[in-house]
Symmetry: C2
Subunit: 320 residues, 2 copies
Amino acid sequence: MENKHTIVIDTLGSDKGPEAIIEGAKMVLDEFENINVTLVGDEELIKSKNLPSERIKIIHAPETVTNYDSPVEAFYKKANVSVFKAVEECAKDDSAIGIISAGNTGALLVGTLRYLLNEKRTRPALAAILPNMQHGFTCLVDTGASIDCGPSQLVEFAHLGTDFMRKLYKIESPRVGLLSNGSEPTKGNHLVKETYPLLAKEEGINFIGNIEGTQALSGKCDVLVAEGFAGNQVLKNSEGMAINLITEIIKFGKKTGNEEITKQIAGYIMKTYDFESLGAGIMLGARKLVMKCRGSSGPVAIKNTAKILANIIANKTFYE
Amino acid sequence: MENKHTIVIDTLGSDKGPEAIIEGAKMVLDEFENINVTLVGDEELIKSKNLPSERIKIIHAPETVTNYDSPVEAFYKKANVSVFKAVEECAKDDSAIGIISAGNTGALLVGTLRYLLNEKRTRPALAAILPNMQHGFTCLVDTGASIDCGPSQLVEFAHLGTDFMRKLYKIESPRVGLLSNGSEPTKGNHLVKETYPLLAKEEGINFIGNIEGTQALSGKCDVLVAEGFAGNQVLKNSEGMAINLITEIIKFGKKTGNEEITKQIAGYIMKTYDFESLGAGIMLGARKLVMKCRGSSGPVAIKNTAKILANIIANKTFYE
């Protein structure tokens, strides 16, 4: 008999409302026979959706951490915050392989720090696994969980990304690049200039030097290390440009009467650069799989993120 | 009789070598009858190219500032650096409307600080005028001249960008956005969080709040303020993504036998997002027009940058 796994889903925090997330949980149950879900949020609302009761567990925790709250304060002051309860449940339940949340990133980080640190007790980092131009994937770390960083944190990011790409993509010695404003070793802000020599001499890190923005998704490196603020720019700007250009292509098709082919091209690009459903972040360094979906996530994004968890558990790569 | 203008061109510092820049100068002379050029660099090499002697002046200054030099040190230690001599000449020559350089950005900033400060004596900032999704242009400032900044510098960037967009694009009250990792006022790194309230209360600034990476070129703001390191990511990442997607489109055309139409689409996109020739930076806050071409610039980039200068002098917008 195949092992049953549980995925904990935080139903609160998405811009689309808890209904969208619960709908996503339904899709997860439909698609993955060996996965049960634990739903955390407003018990009454969840119950009203009539999911198969033998495959779900409900935890009542109706409070949220908004973008206007301090996550740390919320952790100590609010009693029933869904994201914190969800991470706690994930830590306690042996059958739980991970948690999915579309809520506040900082709150997810605080919950992970509190309940799901691994044996090394490194501060976790939020990574995105992005398609690159060499038909592989680049692990961008951090994408916004740690906005202001010091050099030693960036070295930790390098280790977290290296471990992840080695384990998941079977790359023996992942190439690590440092995001900078030029490829020369002399380029960078204070942080990058301090971090460069540390990475160059760090054992277990295959450091290939600075990577500038034009090359971020070129495939030159397997792990791209950045402070959360800058990494967030790379992630979101890439997404914004993909959306802008797809819009332009569609417009061009309409204007010139080539709608059929431009739709095909847009579809082809979106298959690779569909940040909406592919763009789930993973909290590296946690003891279980902690997945951050973007705030705009709908049902499909939740289902696709569950698929990533299923892939990882089955020893496959991220997007199989 | 029409007034003759002079453009000073630093021939050293491009990755493509001084020949490419001199070739660009030739194109400028061919295209703009009322513009003369002053060429700064290796006198013998420049002479060997036989440009029309009545329309050029040559200044011998064969030294360069490399990406491995400190620009400030170079300014005091090296006697004949082309970029410094070029800025100095631009300041002294009354007929000179501006300077074009493809060399080291820091050196161009140091030269501008030394010779071309305006009456307000603000530290200049390097801006890029980028196409946005509302068929207008967004002034991104700073794009890499001031890598590490403080809050008051970002407020200055807002003023510089506002003045520029008002003057050039006749926008009465340009909307100013602050690049952040989320649109909420609480989002940002330390710098952004400190800058936000300053911009909100700053007189003469129409501050519309934080702009996240996905929206950088959406057209939501006319001026996008960022620390040089982060602004550089937006500029270069946008460029990198445009190149990646154009490459994907061409590949798709080859694979599916639709080369004709995909070439048209690629051409259409490149007309808008051709960072190679459109992407010249302008040093805001200088007393004359200081243009930074990218290191990879060839002849066409130099000619297009001269066209921008000609446009501005003729009271037109950047890319007419």
